[in-house]
Amino acid sequence: MKRTERILMKGNEAISEGAIAAGCQAYYGYPITPQNEIPAYMAKRMVELGRIFLQAESELAAINMVFGSAVAGARAMTSSSSPGISLKQEGISYLVGCELPAVIVNVQRGGPGLGNISGAQGDYFQATKGGGHGDYKVIVLAPYSVQEMYDLTYLAFDLADKYRNPVIILTDGVLGQMLEPVVLHSKEQRAMSNEVKDWILDGCKGREPRKIRSLLMAEGALEEHNWKLNEKYSKIKKNEVLYEVYNLDDAKIVLVAFGIAARVCKGAMNIAWEKGLKVGMIRPITLWPFPEKIIADTVKRLCSTAYPLHRSPAILVVEMNLGQMVEDVKLAVNGKVPVEFYGRPGGGLVTKEEILERIEKIHQ
């Protein structure tokens, strides 16, 4: 297949293809809407490729099978949607504690509880602030197009191996079900396990036996381990921040949104420009590490430009929840300009018109 060939795919299928291209050797999953296309796709493709697909008895089992395959040195993935991701939190905490790479896909739906099956962004806190027990971080990638579902899943496997840390793809039911053209980078299968992993358990032939554990009972051992993990988090924060900016140069109002909400915001921003409103946008792609610097720098620039008194600059955060990422934006803004929020919880999809209305209100 030529590099430039575009094929029409669902978001969930693009995630699956991205994983396959990245050399995912083992996939474990459990059915839940709206991510069911992923296990169905993997059940066929992984088996065709002679790789491992297994439908687990539960989300708990699935994430622990991922744990086992990571222990054995394989690139492994699981996917689910919000309620199932809650069940995986125990396993994610163990993966971080044991410094194991893994990719976890959350095709979010409305919550709390069983909620509904509409796309939502209610799991931002859970994904970016740890989620399970203990004091830890996972890398969180938020695609906003079907192409990015493919690209970021591919990237997730590299990041997971690079830092020996789980990576979450935080997307939602709308993107999961959306059909768009995708360019697949390469049909060639990435050489599997070509990188040397000098920590895996594959039998101690020719070397000392190894152990993988997160239990550190000796005095000070766990604190030391957590400081070591923190050094890793600092490196990730320094090296892996991803975001996109639009129309920032002349902007007076800056939208901040991720995932499907960013997609809608982009539409609202374009209409605003047609109406002569100077609206820019920052779209975090990594939700952790959070792109705080670009936000702080933008705010600095906004403040340094002279505005009529009654027309001060502002940030408008748009999310499909009751306000989660807005807290991180406020930390980055640090009180220098007003931060407004517009959101809809429980699977309510924000519209361009609603966002435009907020922009106009701020502009007045």
Partner: protein
């Protein structure tokens, strides 16, 4: 001079943290003797549970990983599927395997995962100080059954070998004990068979071992061994529950 007895190569020369009279030490020794005799220590990956055997990776001299409470069969599945030519086994207590991890053990067994499971049944939660286990006997006093286990309130002792014996993926199930020299010797044979089955790529094997826990049971070690024989075995009779020895 011919050496006729020594420490198994697979067992580290370290002081372990088990209580005096505990059966875990015996089973650790048996497992490592078997691994030595089958010459598989260089291709074995063990999975330590949460419970008294949580530090097993400090005692065993081959690759060992921890697993979350009850999840060793899922972790074993993830390892064995990636490395089908390695020997993968879990070592689990009754809380880990028969309470919080019941789903994982049943489904690993039902899938016929080609792993070996060493299941220690001492009828209590030792690590946390002696609470009711799924295998606690009726009438047995524990921290959470201070008046004795009452079937009406607490349900019945869970019989894992009997439960798993109906599953088609299982090739070998046996319940043994380590309360007497005779039973210890027989347990070693059972463990060896569970590993041999895996080497022969046959399917899921589990050995349930009745193990004395004198400190938590508030008994002298000799009394505890007697209790296994006279009381525990009434609820948990020894024997082979399944042995298909089939090739797949």
């Amino acid at each position: 001079m011919r050496k006729i007895f020594s420490r198994p190569k697979s067992l580290k020369e370290v002081v372990h943290l088990y209580c005096p009279g505990c059966g875990h030490g015996i089973v650790h020794r048996l497992v490592t003797e078997v691994i030595d005799e089958l010459k598989i220590w260089e291709k074995t990956i063990g999975i330590a549970p949460v419970g008294c055997a949580v530090f097993a990776y400090d005692y065993w001299n081959f690759d060992v990983t921890e697993a979350a409470h009850g999840r060793p069969p899922a972790v074993a599945t993830g390892i064995k599927r990636v490395l089908p030519d390695r020997i993968v086994f879990t070592y689990q207590g009754d809380g880990d395997l028969a309470a919080i991890g019941t789903a994982e053990i049943i489904h690993a067994a039902n899938r016929g995962e080609k792993i070996s499971v060493i299941f220690i049944n001492n009828a209590t939660y030792g690590m946390t100080g002696g609470q009711m286990a799924p295998t606690t006997l009726l009438g047995q006093k524990t921290l959470t059954t201070p008046f004795g286990r009452d079937a009406q309130r607490d349900g019945y002792p869970l019989k894992i070998c009997e439960l798993l014996s109906s599953l088609e993926g299982v090739v070998y199930l046996e319940r043994t004990a380590v309360n007497s020299p005779k039973n210890v010797l027989h347990t070693k044979k059972a463990i060896k068979k569970a590993f041999q089955n895996q080497i022969n790529n046959l399917g899921f094997s589990l050995v349930e071992i009745l193990s004395q826990c004198p400190v938590i049971w508030h008994m002298e070690p000799v009394e505890a061994c007697k209790w296994v024989e006279e009381v525990m075995m009434k609820t948990f009779p020894l024997g082979v529950f399944k042995d298909t020895n089939r090739h797949e």
